[in-house]
Amino acid sequence: MKALLSFLAVIVLILIATLGVDVANLHFLFGIIIPYLAFVLFVGGFVYRVIKWGRSPVPYRIPTTCGQQKSLPWIKQAKIENPTTVLGVIVRMALEIFFFRSLFRNTKTELRVGEDGPKLVHGSAKWLWFGSLVFHWSFLIIIVRHLRFFLEPVPYFVQLIDSIDGMLQIGLPPIYLTDAFFLCAVIYLFLRRLALPQVRYISLAADYFPLFIIMGIAISGILMRYFFRVDIVAVKELALGLVQLHPAIPEGIGVLFYIHLFLISTLFAYFPTSKLMHMGGIFLSPTRNMMSNNRMVRHINPWNHAVEVHSYAEYEDEFRDKMKKAGIPVEKE
């Protein structure tokens, strides 16, 4: 049901773009205003979200430790799994961000039929890690490849990535490896949510919607490249116009392009309000980005208020004369 709703939402988005461009002729709205709006919402929302997170105090030192803590000199410390230096934390974060190290540790727990009744077994589960890795890296390469539409002249590294991506030279225009990987990975991530009962149980519409919209973006892009070609020179003129702040709509770009653009704009505008903010959030994970020096350094709760105290010495200073008159003994004469 949740999946179906998300699917319908994406279909409605596609219909809006199709009708808006093909029937209502709102090229200016879909080609210029909405993309600009989406970009502003994305950047503004992203910055707002991260600053909001940054303002919340982190009262406790809560790094997860996955290895030997720094201890006596003859006990070998796990310097990355239990870092006590900035370098260790940087390496740990880099492994997390580039290779999803904690997902690599993913395990599964199942009830299996044993000789005498059911048996609880634990095992490693790497498919999610592998699927996510393929998905995220393909996505990154695809985004870098798209810079060819936004930069003139096209820098060498973009051309290089482009040629590596199409190195198999299957068909014309050559099939990009990342296109295939990306689509497979998205479909796997979606089917995983449907196929595993536990995962389906916890999946929300907010989990399905990004998957469907990303799937829609990928499929519309693939259709545009290999099947129903749009005028790529006109597309680049539009893209360059946008980034040069002299937007103009060139003639004769197919409606498929506007569907692609509208889905991307929706994704960008939706991004800061969604779970996709893990892109910024991963850097702020307190269990990952803290040094494990809980006992080596005294950590003071950042929201500790300065408590006003009135010590006995101060009390005596204030009332010494009165105390003496009343015959109360004082510590200091």
Partner: protein, 143 residues
């Protein structure tokens, strides 16, 4: 803010990356590719209608290669029943660059390392044709 300096610095880097295309293209003209002026031809239409050629020229060339090199059939009959010699020479008869005639622009073929007529659009869209890996190009072909 806690660790505010680092968070703000990271955000500035992030926004700088996102706005890179805005600065990269700052002050440049969005002129599009300079389309080369073709040698005049009595026949104004290419092998197939222009819209078809624009979208499918690469696949037509692939078909030509297979037809000529693999099947030994060197004549192409187009959608209007007109026949053409399968050869790059057929293309080059019209599609030759007269680099000097072009005005200097963003993507003037005259400024490119190669003066094949393909380069202005292909460079603009960053698509590298592999034709010239083997073929010697228009000058050699027309001699």
């Amino acid at each position: 803010m806690y660790k505010g300096g680092r968070i703000i610095a990271s955000l500035i880097i992030f926004v700088a990356f996102l706005t890179l295309p805005f600065f990269f293209n700052l002050g440049k003209a969005n002129a599009g590719p300079d389309l080369p002026t073709y040698a005049s031809s009595s026949d104004s239409q290419c092998v197939e209608p222009a819209a078809y050629m624009k979208a499918n020229h690469m696949q037509l060339l692939l078909k030509w290669r297979d037809s000529d090199v693999r099947d030994g059939n060197s004549v192409y009959i187009n959608s209007q029943g007109k026949s053409f010699d399968i050869s790059l020479e057929t293309c080059v008869q019209c599609h030759t660059t007269q680099a000097t005639k072009n005005t200097v622009g963003v993507n003037n073929p005259a400024l490119n390392t190669s003066d094949q007529f393909c380069v202005s659009c292909h460079n603009y869209a960053s698509v590298k044709p592999t034709c010239w890996n083997c073929h010697s190009g228009p000058e050699g072909a027309t001699k």
